[in-house]
Amino acid sequence: MTGFHTAADLRHACELKAAHPDATLIAGGTDVMVGLNFGHTSPAALLDVSRVPELREWSREDDTIVLGAGVPYTRIVDELGGALPGLARAARTIGSAQIRNRATVGGNLGTASPAGDALPPLLAARASIELASLRGTRRVPARDFFLGPGRSVLADDEIVAAVRIPVAAGAEQFAKLGPRNAMVIAVASVAVTLDPPRRRVGCAVGSAAPTPVVAGDAETFAGAELDWDGRRELPASVTARFAELAAAATAPIDDVRGTAGYRRHAVAVLARRTLTWAWQEYRRS
């Protein structure tokens, strides 16, 4: 490695990225440093964006939270649990206190791992991603951002600047499966959002396909079947079908953390639970 560049602000970060397109961005470092420490990656240079003030703030624009890509998860848990309960729930499950103090949503997006814990809530909530470069800023729906494991639509000269996430219109839930309650790479995860005014359900799955995936058939089914006005209890037939459709949206692999079959089963269980929890919350509200 021959370079270490420190960006002072977003404009400077874009200039540096344009000048050094092969540089690896580093913010919290919780992914990048693991690769470096183990010699698994050897980037040409590092571009440190951990001090870029624009990335470290969030704001509210009407019914949207504009979350800087560099806001660490600890702050998302502390400050955004009310507006973005789904993302905050996922943030609570990430790593450990030390990891949450550094790790960022921008990092989860840049790394583009199907196991990124923050990603299913962003897909379920129909967030969009703001990508900045010297060419300007563009917005990409989170649902269109990922291309494959470690691959996204992010261009060489672009930086993930912010995520625009609709303020929760109703209950939002997240669940992930792993061998313990901390420091776990999810075997499978599911995020569910309810949007009662639009009678719409969001459902996305992590760790069970080459990218985080939207369970579109499950969303459409639940949106039509839920008793939005009467708020009656969920029939077991609805949760069972929802679980089945969520599992059908996945394309899991066998690996050290679990088999494809186990993952499919886990997704169905997590989908049933998260929908049930969200519905219970809606009925109480």
Binding site: I26, N37, A45, G95, N101
Partner: protein
């Protein structure tokens, strides 16, 4: 490259730092502070926990260059001269130290927990310590030390 930072209250300027070097390596090998332990190098074990600008972090996951102009406090910076910090004293009194390898990271983590919460509940303690692995004690004596230190702090 050169990195300037403050470690345990002392200004340091370090030359020849590698671009991909971790803050942990810099602290141990260049500053000569071996308290922060090098074990997993992937943020799993917490034995390298230090304060970076008042935030508890795994030093192995911070690039040294990211600590430019920062204030770092390591386990060596917690005691007041020969006087142990109450958290350190509680670890000794509770028998929370066996092989001792995880102890520096745990001491910093507990120091941080008690700085934020003077009277942590059982779940809070477990959550706060979830990122620090100990392969000797079974954690019970460590939890005793946290309660002891919290009691003293009150």
């Amino acid at each position: 490259m050169r990195v300037d930072l403050e470690v345990n209250g002392v200004r340091r300027s370090l030359d020849g730092v590698r671009e991909g070097e971790s803050l942990l390596h810099l602290l141990r090998e260049r500053v000569g502070l071996p308290g922060s332990k090098n074990a997993c190098e992937q943020g799993e074990c917490g034995s390298c926990t230090v304060y970076l600008d008042e935030t508890a972090v795994c030093a192995c996951l911070v690039a040294a260059g990211q600590a430019q102009d920062s204030r770092v406090v390591t386990v060596e910076g917690l005691a007041d001269g020969a006087e142990l910090h109450p958290v350190q004293r509680a670890f000794v009194e509770a028998g929370a130290v066996q092989c001792g390898f995880c102890t520096p990271g745990l001491v910093v983590t507990v120091h941080d927990l008690l700085a934020r919460t003077s009277d942590p509940g059982e779940a809070e303690i477990r959550e706060a310590l979830a990122g620090n692995l100990c392969r000797c004690t079974g954690y019970e004596k460590i939890f005793d030390a946290v309660r002891l230190a919290a009691g003293e702090a009150r």
